[in-house]
């Protein structure tokens, strides 16, 4: 089932405006992945929470009502606490058609919605292993 939290990846901050999605993300990442998880419903509260929590990885919904995910990431990049924190986007779009999201600094990839709660942790570990400087490859 699980290969406990990947190398250097233990703390994940997940941001989505839907509490039902956050509930299943938290359950999946904590129980299946063995990660320490913080969740946030509102973009306006992310920066303060990120500074206090110190995530290794940001998991950001692309479509937030008060700010879209790219704008939120840009704001987080201006904060020294999260300037270099790797990020993964959750998106209802099946593809990042023009590649604009995955070209943003520090973005490891996209996870399409709907996602499988039984596979979410593994998918994040896979993306984490592919980050620059990770030795690149499955199982890193």
């Amino acid at each position: 089932m699980r290969a406990m939290a990947g190398e250097g990846l233990t703390r994940i901050l997940a941001v989505d405006d839907d509490p039902d999605i956050l509930a299943v993300i938290r359950l999946s990442l904590e129980m299946d992945g063995g990660f320490t998880v913080a969740v946030c419903l509102r973009a306006a509260e992310v920066q303060a929470l990120a500074s206090a929590f110190g995530p290794d990885l940001l998991l950001l919904d692309v479509m937030l009502p008060d700010l879209d995910g790219a704008e939120l990431l840009a704001a987080l990049r201006r904060d020294p606490a999260t300037a270099a924190t790797p990020a993964v986007f959750l998106t209802a779009r099946t593809l990042d058609e023009d590649g604009s999201l995955t070209r943003l600094p520090g973005v490891l990839g996209l996870i399409p919605k709907p996602f499988d709660p039984l596979r979410l942790s593994g998918e994040l570990r896979r993306l984490w292993a592919l980050r620059p400087g990770a030795g690149g490859g499955e199982g890193a």
Partner: protein
């Protein structure tokens, strides 16, 4: 049962419980959508439009994650009726919107029965 198997069983049981609680709320979401559609029909209120779209957007993204893909598809179809050019709000013909919400309710009922 090994510790690993026990952890996996506990995780799957929690996922099942979360799914059951979500399923129990689905018909409430459709009723709420129909109430909002009736309000929209009366006054074309942009705040009501936003609330209805937000609800349908949430169902479209969340229901499939909990294993209700038909509900997600029906919610996405209803949501599309509310989107005009360039993201501007659109106020569809009430009969058309009502038909889409009835299709949503049917999808929920079908998936509730199948669960």
């Amino acid at each position: 049962m090994t510790g690993e198997q026990g952890r996996e069983a506990a995780f799957l049981a929690e996922v099942a419980a979360l799914t059951r609680r979500y399923r129990e709320r689905l018909s409430g979401f459709t009723a709420q959508a129909q109430t909002l559609a009736r309000e929209l029909e009366k006054g074309r209120d942009p705040a009501v439009h936003r609330e209805l779209r937000r609800l349908l957007h949430s169902l479209a993204g969340t229901a499939p994650t909990y294993g209700f893909p038909g509900t997600g598809r029906a919610a996405r179809a209803a949501m599309a009726l509310l989107d005009g050019e360039g993201g501007a709000p659109r106020f569809p013909d009430p009969g058309v919107l009502d038909g889409a919400l009835k299709a949503l309710r049917s999808a929920v009922e079908n998936e509730e029965q199948a669960a």
